[in-house]
Symmetry: C3
Subunit: 550 residues, 3 copies
């Protein structure tokens, strides 16, 4: 596993680079990840590119034997763009335009921003695409962070087109969304507004069908923006292209499986010292692609030593980890502590630890363990995640209610026993697993339904929850029973009405179908219930161990 | 007691109606309450009315022996109105216009909304007013729900007129409101703004006199809107007209005594399984009119069986209860569970219970008990309620602080002993009671003062709290002592300054006047204090039982 | 110590004045503080001054032997100004304009407000400046209360000028603020906006350097407004001029040391019965000037008797205390209880207490104790206070996080032992103390650094915290070590990295330098730690008592 570090040449000068590169090198760090916020230094005036500082700092890095991962700086439009074209600043639910002064102040659907982004990405790719020292590209920074959905008129227009393409006729949309409810019928696609907050004081929800489509549209806008950049970079460069999605820090709002589809390797940022959380995000990120490997694009340096965490990462398929960061920032919103060096430039215990490992050549994390097929797979559904967030939108902590459930109740119960699990985001990824867990997958998915039936029929184990497929793809409750209920659960009604004998039992159904087994848990199943269910199911299978220890 | 159910023919079709009506009939439900949100189906394009679906569904209902309560659909202006005339959308305290996408998005003082409302109400009344099968009308739905006060320029203008009519001269208003305080004097009625939030970040209060008038004005706007509809309906129909006020769910913001003055019977919506709360709202709603009966326009179907609650209602004078609802909604903001049928159309335990009762012809709630004069009456003052809410506006839970006190501390203490109480909203309703409770009636009311003095003089028992009449009708503290303090309390000063000997005693005064008795409790009297006071007073009267058990 | 009372002649009439003045006199109150909110009565129409009521009420006060402190009424612009020139209403962080209807609705940088303020202050000063009965002036009321910073375009423009004057070149500003971070570089001073809330939903911080300058600018705007008034008054009057700053009730947002620089005596409003808090504000207010005395411009009348509190104040150098208030207000936002008289005009226990003391001529607080040089001084840094508030802005309670720390942890630990401390706001005030406490002074201050080194060298005791001078004046962390770390702490690095042996020890350094001693506490030192440190240091100095009991 290669160690990198986030570095900011734009914020200092040649003399400082030499000092820092030397220290980076001595700690056994091989790669610097640079430029992800450097737009204003690269293009201080619209259309005027200043490359010399970046040229020089890269050249010098090569002299110190350092590789470079180059980032596109589009997450921070400079003041000349934000001030000159205030329409690029996103609008929140309340219709308030974001103010320049932080980051992520951009609407993914506004022409002026897209144009300027294309230009700087093309200019960078052209200039650095063929350079040997650039070993990879990071697109943007934490796409979808901070402001996740924009409600401006450009987005609204695009959203109307998105709906028109999908539904064709407004009657179809009215019908599927149940707009006869509360007289919400639209007369035409052009009368559909972005779902602005209904009232700034009362907590009032929009139609959940409208919301789910808007979440899908917003995710797609981000995915398209990323793909646009990837396409440009690939015109000039052959090396690996990725991005650094945040670990649901700002909520689960981008379909990261879609986001990475056209990228080369999963990339994640993580600020956590919790072993289970590290394992969760490692397994999740790795499974975004089928390569068995992934990149940790930012990993937060903490006050205690990181050797155990780094070893954990390498054992989970992490090929590259970029520590955040070399120097603590003295200025700006992230000013304060946490770096490999102190504010006054002294080595911290982490820096010394890295240096010692390098010198002793005894580094536990040197080799990245390539992870093959695991026995347990957890199905992660963005549609279901968003459906829960939409239903629970009043509570901020519920921005990732579903992800949290998967992490703490499902994945956590596996991790606690010393085992690990892979993740599936698509029915196509189902092959190879012995056991599939499908927790709280409320939104119906035809391909998944068929795959699950085949999977169990062929001898697989399925554990799911009673709310499987209770809503259709429009976020509307199903009134008919999906076919899999009949085959897998031997049940003609998909509604589990409370009955007395269920009271103390979290497993509602234990069934066999074909050569496989199906257990259905209550929707409120907690970590203990999941653990017991997996143990119980293992016993049923003659104590065959269903789990992998990495 | 007749059982009805909320039904939504506009959301399905003829085939489904047949299935549902059959099931409704089999459960012994005699009435459907329909159309309260169906505006967009009745008038899909401005001025174009589509009656056929409603005609058909009513005709079919008759075939199944079902009666119909028809609702005017004005609580949900369709998209063509909200989009075409955005001025009809109400403005909140912050000056933000409500967004289309929920319900109750209408300003009660905006011409375009009033015009369109008049038209559809008139068209419905004309078409259905004489039909035998329509046994009653419900005006609108939960008037004053969600957005209770609108701060738009139309309301502001009407508010200025309201004040002008009341005060005549601006000097009179300045003087009565104490506007010399903080230099708040107005130069003319036209400079008085609706009391918008003073600062979106700081919690700053407006003059409580201004606020109380604005609350009164807002309540009056709703009452007038309702009366306008009632007048139209009565031109064409002879049957009973009511409305369904919510049970303070959105706060106590409409003077429901005024609201029902020109209607035929009290109507309420209630979602509670708490017996005391059910009794409270039953007694309250019944006493809105002097008929001894009332309608429960919506009563929420819960997960357990409702037989006890239905019996309770019938014993409290409930003549008709409309269950909410037949089918759970698969789409929209209220999607999810709770219906007489499950999401997949299966009967629930409640449905089965209703059906069994019908078949056994053994229904406890068959007869509505007509409630006569009770011994205890509680005086409910909207002015006082609003004064408390205005004073405690920072806390959302205090939107009904006064009502909650009446429910939990006063009514609750009576209910706990197995007894019941009536409610008074007007001095004229005082006759017939043995004991009158006047809790926390801070706002002075001349007619009430005179009535209380007469009532006690003539032998009545009065229990009140030390803050009786401490403010005048302008929400300004009285500096003089009201006459009743002298006669009833034998006290020349209406201010109860804390004294040492009161410390452990919640009863501040026990007095006799004429043939009656007067007890004054601390303003902080809790349920226990009220219970003790009523018991104590009963002992004083030679243990005469003061209470009614229903 | 003279006793005064807040009185509002504008709200009543001649007959009432006679009654009230008589009662004021009988209670031994010698002074009335009047007119601080009376703008609309003094200038009911723009440019038309109505003096007669004020003339008469002052004349009558003289007849009753009462002195007058006259206040300028600028904290409450009348409706004609707020309505006629809505630009005078301040804008909050969200860009929302404050609404007329409370007080403090004025932007300190808007011409129309400044012009009208100048006019009424000049008119008042001219009319009353020479009158014998006016013994002092209070400028405005609680300057900086409620809305502390205004974000309007006038303020923005002034702020740009303020920055231009300070930084000269935009590159200098970009460099010092570290604006390369997140591409935040400005192209010119005219593109710097007032730091409006970045997003109304997400909690996002601005650059702390920008914020600190905006806080300084906002404080300076208030100070200038006050100085403008003082200058006008002094053209016509020889008597003492002060103002009544609030006791951090609305947050610590005005540099009150600067505010009082050109005024004659420290003036404070306090609503607290806590002895420690009273002592704290007394010591703090007294030390704003070097006179050993101060005025308590408002002191809240509570429900219990105030004799102890009044005695405490007189022992702390309080020369004059103005009780708030004679009569409780029946109307307006502050309606309700607390006055020397009850709502109905009856004497309260406090009134009777004052009257008794007067009649017995046995008043403990008669003499104001002039306070000389104390042994312990606490350094109070507004820059540091604001830096903490800016860093902790999410939490409302942190509007005065620093002041609260000084009060509860530092001052409180001294007060608990029965001792008292003075306050320093400027390096020049250092002389005369034996021990200087410099808690949490994060922002570097060159004059203070030099003064501290000299002070310790000359034999003084210094107790400070590990975060002393860790940031420069731009609110940016220092990467170099300040000179005083080397001399005073014998430490070449100003960053205290956590080490194992510090774990259970709150004192990180015990050093001697020259003839003095230096102790450095952890930044998290609580009251107990401060107490122990002071005791420990005293023992080191051969048990010399370091403290004063007043």
């Amino acid at each position: 596993m290669k160690i990198g570090v986030a570095y900011y040449p734009e914020r200092c000068n040649f003399e400082q680079w030499k000092i820092d590169y030397q220290k980076i090198k001595e700690a056994g760090i091989t790669t610097i990840r640079i430029a992800e916020f450097a737009w204003s230094k690269l293009e201080p005036v619209r259309g005027e590119f200043h490359w010399s500082w970046l040229d020089d700092s890269i050249r010098l890095a090569v002299e110190y034997g350092l590789d470079v991962i180059l980032c596109t700086p589009t997450a921070c439009p400079p003041n000349w763009l934000a001030c000159g074209e205030p329409g690029i600043l996103p609008l929140n639910e309340k219709g308030e335009r974001m103010v320049f002064g932080k980051r992520q102040h951009r609407c993914y659907n506004t022409k002026e921003y897209l144009d300027c982004s294309r230009k700087i990405v093309e200019a960078m790719a052209k200039r650095y695409g063929k350079r040997q020292e650039i070993i990879g590209w990071q697109i943007d920074n934490e796409l979808g962070g901070e402001r996740q959905r924009c409600y401006c008129s450009n987005c609204e227009k695009e959203f109307q087109n998105f709906l028109y393409e999908k539904y064709g006729r407004i009657e179809e949309l009215n019908d599927r969304w149940g707009n006869a409810f509360w007289s919400e019928e639209y007369q035409g696609f052009e009368t559909i507004k972005a779902p602005h907050e209904i009232d700034g004081q009362l907590k009032l929800k929009h139609n959940p069908s409208l919301e789910l489509e808007f979440w899908r549209f917003s995710s797609r806008s981000i995915v398209r923006f990323c793909e646009m950049q990837a396409e440009i970079i690939r015109k000039y460069s052959q090396v690996l292209v990725t991005t650094n999605t945040d670990s649901f820090a700002w909520g689960d709002c981008v379909n990261i499986y879609e986001l990475f589809k056209k990228l080369d390797i999963g990339g994640m940022d993580l600020y956590s010292e919790d072993p289970c959380e590290i394992a969760f995000y490692a397994d999740l990120t790795r499974c975004l692609k089928n390569s068995g490997r992934f990149y940790m694009m930012e990993y937060g340096v903490a006050s205690h030593t990181l050797d155990r965490e780094l070893a954990d990462l390498s054992l989970s398929g992490c090929e590259f980890v970029s520590l955040f960061k070399m120097n603590p920032f003295p200025w700006g919103q992230e000013q304060g502590y946490n770096g490999l060096l102190s504010m006054s430039g002294r080595p911290t215990t982490n820096y010394n630890m890295l240096k010692d490992k390098k010198n002793q050549n005894s580094c536990e994390w040197k080799e990245t363990k390539e992870i093959g097929q695991l026995k347990i797979g957890i199905y992660y559904s963005f549609d279901s995640s968003w459906s829960f967030s939409i239903a629970n939108w009043e509570e901020k902590q519920d921005r990732w209610i579903y992800a949290k459930y998967i992490l703490e109740k499902v994945y956590g119960s596996i991790y606690e026993t010393g085992a690990r699990a892979g993740f599936l985001f698509d029915a196509e990824q189902i092959n190879g697993y012995d056991t599939i867990l499908v927790p709280r997958n409320v939104i119906y998915n035809e391909a998944l339904e068929e795959a699950l039936v085949r999977f169990v029929e062929d001898g697989g184990n399925l554990i799911t929850t009673e709310d499987l497929f209770i809503k259709n793809i429009d976020n509307v409750y199903l009134t008919d029973t999906p076919a899999c209920y009949i085959s897998l659960f031997n049940k003609t009604d998909h509604i589990f009405l409370p009955e007395i004998d269920w009271k103390d039992e979290s497993v509602l159904i234990k069934n066999t179908f074909g050569n496989g087994r199906v257990w259905v848990l209550k929707h409120s199943a907690d970590a203990e219930d999941w653990k017991k269910a997996m143990e119980g199911l293992a016993n049923t299978c003659n104590n065959i161990v269903l789990k992998d220890n990495l």
